[in-house]
Structure formats: structure tokens, C-alpha cells
Symmetry: C2
Subunit: 354 residues, 2 copies
């Protein structure tokens, strides 16, 4: 039986990079072409244009029936003016919630050959090898909201950061497990000196320690973490945190090594996983054929490992990407004024390196 | 009539650095010693030890009757185990709320001679010259909280991010005014693609643009801002944002230039202002006489400018600090293994440079 991969190219450069990843996947499975089947579906701005909805019912049904979902990117200035629930981002949030992918895993590591594009000093950047696990389906992203008028202070608006023990426990568990498979150190990030939800978060983490005696755990405040990511990033192994803190910190972490175009992500729950590069839809270079496909190719590799039980093929893809980077090949985003290659040429090189 | 300065040394290195700032202030006013009067009061852990409360009633009355408040730092492991409302941080939050200091101003700039302590590449760090204005008395720091039990998912905890139009308007106004006095560019940071409070924030900013035609305004999402602070910090002039985002971003910004020990802050409202260095209480070096007093001295300079109508004396203090830095004098935090001087020697040097 073929494994069903739902492809959601989305907007901007999304279609380019998803097409690249599909080409690489087909090559990796050239000995068993029947093992994977691909179906394209609409999400984000392009879905709004065609159906009026950022996350059409057809897409919802398809992703729920799939084994894994590979996403390009969503959003663009064209759709920025619509009401909140008709923006591309609303489609992305609904997709995450529908799939129940509560754990967003973002590995960030220094590729030695790319470090000259890092804003950090070489000696600071070179030690970066961390994994941020961001809670993705709870917190202030999905809490109650309210708007209205006050008697004396004009309008008001309210958002709610809400977490249950179950929600915290399941994502923190992913953190402990990942730490055990890596360097054995887990950093839980919160704002427990101010927030009740953070105090509950901290209690749950402390509760779980006894089940993972081989993992060392530390609690770090989100403001401290934002500092240490820049000053001493090598001190982190696995970071686990709630949705909003994870949004901010994972983007901060993504730029440390100069390789944001290369970074993948996996969002995991109990059903199909969702895989997407860290970079955005980059509408300014959409359709020019110069987008960096490596983040999406590495996301597809994570998909093989986490959703499709194909760890060896995942490793082959990752090794091929490392080889083309080592060989000095660069798309425009990484070229820093040097010669650069197209999306297609980069994809061809990865396929050749497999 | 003497201007009344309430001194809150606090915990850890707080007493050392406040004593230094007082020595410098006395010197700056040596021609008019009667112009300032100083009173010491308890706050934080030391207040808990003496009175059982982190923000004793005596301190509350005194700060409200003062012209300005100079704070060292609060907190330390000794008081970390107490219940939330009996922690040093609770005293700090109550102090801010009591004074109504809704606008926390944190200038961050590169001192050329300190850039070798920056984690950033020299070419990235050297352009940093920005001011973060953080809303300080609203948002999720002061919203309703709740804890309880759910039927199916264990315990829950809830925090509320709440803003009124009035609260947003008054701090954003400080942002526009500051931008007008600097390079004329205001960056408003929010998460308007997710949060209702951010959408209201953005509306208020857009509303106010017409009153400041000489200021250019851009909206940046908090996750993007966390990236750009590291990759292109020189693009920012004044940043204005809500309390929690400001907590995270201002700490991130504080480490960019390698000079966190030198950075001051001013928290302004309609009554007495609150002035404190950015660095924490550093319990590990408390009492050793090696803390960096420059952040507190520069905070005292901001106090002269913003609360005591003494801009010329403020400039003299700032110029003196710049001179000792240029002369190569370093406390241990900035020495990077080179020779370093004590808190007192650094203070003497500033006084000599006045
Ligand atoms: C588009 C936006 C809603 C989204 C988020 O904040 O989760 C994005 O920033 C991300 O991190 O994937
Ligand atoms: C101690 C803590 C409550 C405080 C805050 O978050 O406001 C601190 O981090 C700060 O930024 O002054």
C-alpha cells in the first residue's frame, strides 16, 4: 500500500520548493516508486483565491486521510487586508489544530560552510546544535479572545493563555524523549515569575523528571533564554516551551547560524505529521526560480523519519544535502554576493549526490 | 527645595551599584549639594527578610512622595522558593504599578571600545543604536489569572493579556515622541496575525500616525523582530511594544553590543520616574566589590534628564562614562580575561572624568 503524502504548496515560493522536495523524494524511492503517492491540495492565499477559504473542506478531509503532510509556505501582502479568519495564517492555524500536531520540532545546527552568513562571531556560532520543541496547538494562539468598549479607557481587547496539564505533559514528554536521544539535556522555558500557566508548566516538568533520570533538566526564563540564545547558544541541547514563547525563540534561533533557508521543521501529534521549512513565502522572489529548496528537502527527510518509518532514506537525503553544501553550492539567499544557482540546479545537485 | 531621590538598593550587587551612583551624583551636584536629598528604602528580598513583604508599606509611601526612584536590582536564589506574592519580583511589579510607570525606556547602543565583548560580528554590532520602549504596567503581567481542575485534562492555568486603548495610546505616544527626537523611525511590534490585543494595538498606532507626520512607522511581528534584532539591528531606531514582548526583546537587544553591564533604563509615567540598570542582582558576585556600576550611573543620568530637569548634568555624567570606557577601564564583566578594576575604582574614574 502506498503511503499517502498530502502536498500543500501554498503561496509565494511554496510551490517551487515543494516541487523540488517531491523530485528528491521520487529519486530516493526510485527502487520502489509505488511506495509513496502524492496529492496536491490548496492552503492559504491560493486557497482563498480559488475557494474563498484559507483551509477548504476538501483539504481538511485530505490531510486527515493522509499519512503525512508536506507544506511549502503561506501568506503574502495580497491577502493581508482580509478579516482575520480569511487570512492565509488562519488556514495554517486551522491545519495545525485539525491535525492535532502539538509538538513543533525545529532543529538548528551550524553548517560549517555556511557560517560566514551568520550574524554571530564564528566562535559563538560554530557550537550551535539545538532542537527547539514548541507547543503548537494551545496557549494564547487558541485561547478565548474578546473585544469591546470600556467606560473610561476606550476600546479593549483580551487574549487568553490557557494550558491544561495534559497539553503540557504530552509536549514535554517529546522534549524528554528527544533529549534522551541527543545530549541528554532539556531546557524548559517559561515565565514562571509572572504567569500562572508557566507555574503549572514548571510543576509538570518537575513531576516528569523521575521518569527520565538520564536527562538533566533546567528551567530558564524566556527573557534569559532570548539572551543566552545569542550569547551562549552552545549551552542548549533540547529546548521545550509553550506556543508563543516558542514562536519567538525558534525564529530567533533560526537566524543564528546563517542558514535559515536550510532549516526544516516537523510538527507531530498522534495522527499524520506536518512538515515545512522554517522560511516564509518570500513573495518578492516567488516564481523567479531562485528559492532555496533545502529547508523543504530536509523537512521531507524528517517526514520519512517521523511519519513514514523510513529512517535510512531520511539519512540518505540529509547526507546528500550536507554534501552539496560542503561542495560550496549556494542559492541566492546564501550566496552573499558570490555566484549562485537556481532552485532547479540545487535540486539536481541533491539528486546527483544521493 | 531639595529634590527627593528614593534609593532602593535591593538585593545582590544592588547596594554596591546604587552606592556608586550616589557618589557620582553627589559629585555632579558638588556646587549645589542641597539640590538633592537621598533616602534609602527596602525592596525585594532584603525587604522580605526585614519586614516579611517584598514591597513594604513604608517604601510605598516613600516612593510616592519622592521626585524620582533609583533602584539597584532585586532577587536571588534565597527567595525563589516562597509563594508568588512573597517573591522579590512581586515587589518590583507592585512598585511599577504603584508608580504607574507605563513606559520602560531602554536605550541600547554600541560602545566601540566594548564591541569585542559582543557575540555579533563586528560589522553587525557596530551599527546598533536603538531605543526599546516597553509597556510596563499592563498586558499579561497584570491580567486576571486562574488555576483549577478540568474534567478530563488534569489541572489548568490561565493568564489574560488585556489592553485598553488608553493604555496603548499613552505608551505609543512616548514612542512617537522619542522617534521624533531621534532618527524619526518608529517600529511597532505586535503579533497582529494572532492576537486581538495586538490588532487593537496596531489600530491605535495607525490612528496616531497623522499626529506625527514627521515620523515613519512600520509594524513588525514579534517573531520577525526577534530575528532582525540579531541579523540587522541597525535597521531599528525606536521600537515600541507591549509588556511581555518588550520583556523578551529588550533582553535580547541588551546583549547585542556586549555591554549589558553598561545599559540603563528609565520607567516613566505621570508621577516619579523609576531608574534602574538592565542587569540583574548577580548574587554570585554580591559583596565582592567587582560589580559594574556604569549601568546604574547611566540610569541616574537618565533620572536627571527625565525626572529632575537637569539635562546638562545628565550629559556630563554620560560623557564621563564614555571617557572611562574609551580609556580602556573595565570591570570584570567586560574584561574578557584582561586586567579589571573594582566597583570603587571604576566609580572613582568616572568622578575624576566629570
Ligand atoms: C503565521 C503565524 C501565525 C505563524 C505562527 O505564529 O505560528 C508563524 O509565525 C510560524 O511560526 O509558523
Ligand atoms: C523580574 C521580572 C518580573 C521582570 C519582568 O519580567 O518584568 C524582569 O525580567 C524585568 O524585565 O525587569
Amino acid at each position: 500500500m502506498a503511503k499517502r503524502v498530502a502536498l500543500l504548496p501554498g503561496d509565494g515560493i511554496g510551490p517551487d520548493v515543494v516541487a523540488s522536495a517531491v523530485r528528491v523524494l521520487r529519486q530516493v524511492f526510485s527502487d520502489r516508486p509505488e511506495a509513496l503517492s502524492f496529492q496536491y491540495h490548496l492552503l492559504g492565499g491560493s486557497a482563498i483565491d480559488e475557494t474563498g477559504q484559507p483551509f477548504p473542506e476538501e483539504t481538511r478531509a485530505a490531510v486527515l486521510a493522509s499519512d503525512a503532510v508536506l507544506l511549502g509556505a503561506v501568506g503574502g501582502p495580497k491577502w493581508d487586508k482580509g478579516p482575520g479568519h480569511l487570512r492565509p495564517e488562519a488556514g495554517l492555524l486551522a491545519l495545525r489544530k485539525t491535525l492535532g500536531v502539538y509538538a513543533n520540532m525545529r532543529p538548528v545546527r551550524a553548517y560549517e560552510r555556511l557560517l560566514d552568513a551568520s550574524p554571530l562571531r564564528l566562535d559563538v556560532a560554530k557550537g550551535v546544535d539545538l532542537l527547539i520543541i514548541r507547543e503548537l496547538t494551545g496557549g494564547i494562539y487558541f485561547g478565548e479572545r474578546e473585544r469591546g468598549d470600556t467606560a473610561l479607557e476606550g476600546r479593549f481587547a483580551k487574549d487568553t493563555m490557557y494550558y491544561t496539564e495534559m497539553e503540557i505533559r504530552r509536549v514535554v514528554k517529546k522534549g524528554f524523549e528527544a533529549a534522551r536521544d541527543r545530549k541528554g539535556h532539556l531546557t524548559s522555558v517559561d515565565k514562571a515569575n509572572v504567569l500562572d500557566s508557566s507555574r503549572l508548566w514548571r510543576e509538570v516538568v518537575d513531576d516528569m523528571k523521575k521518569d527520565f533520570p538520564d536527562v538533566t533538566v533546567e528551567h530558564v526564563l524566556v527573557d534569559s533564554c532570548a539572551m543566552h540564545l545569542v550569547t551562549r547558544p552552545e549551552r542548549f541541547d533540547v529546548i521545550v516551551t509553550e506556543n508563543l514563547f516558542g514562536d519567538i525563540l525558534s525564529d530567533e534561533a533560526a537566524v543564528l547560524t546563517g542558514s535559515i533557508g536550510v532549516l526544516p521543521s516537523a510538527s507531530l501529534g498522534d495522527g499524520p505529521g506536518l512538515y515545512e521549512p522554517i522560511h516564509g513565502s518570500a513573495p518578492d522572489i516567488a516564481g523567479k526560480g531562485i528559492a532555496n529548496p533545502l529547508g523543504t528537502i530536509l523537512s521531507a527527510a524528517m517526514m520519512l523519519r517521523h511519519s513514514l518509518a523510513e529512517p535510512e532514506r531520511a539519512e540518505r537525503m540529509e547526507a546528500a544535502v550536507a554534501r552539496v553544501i560542503d561542495a560550496g553550492l549556494r542559492t541566492a539567499d546564501l550566496a552573499r554576493g558570490q555566484a549562485s544557482v537556481s532552485t532547479n540546479a540545487m535540486t539536481d545537485a541533491v539528486i546527483a549526490a544521493l
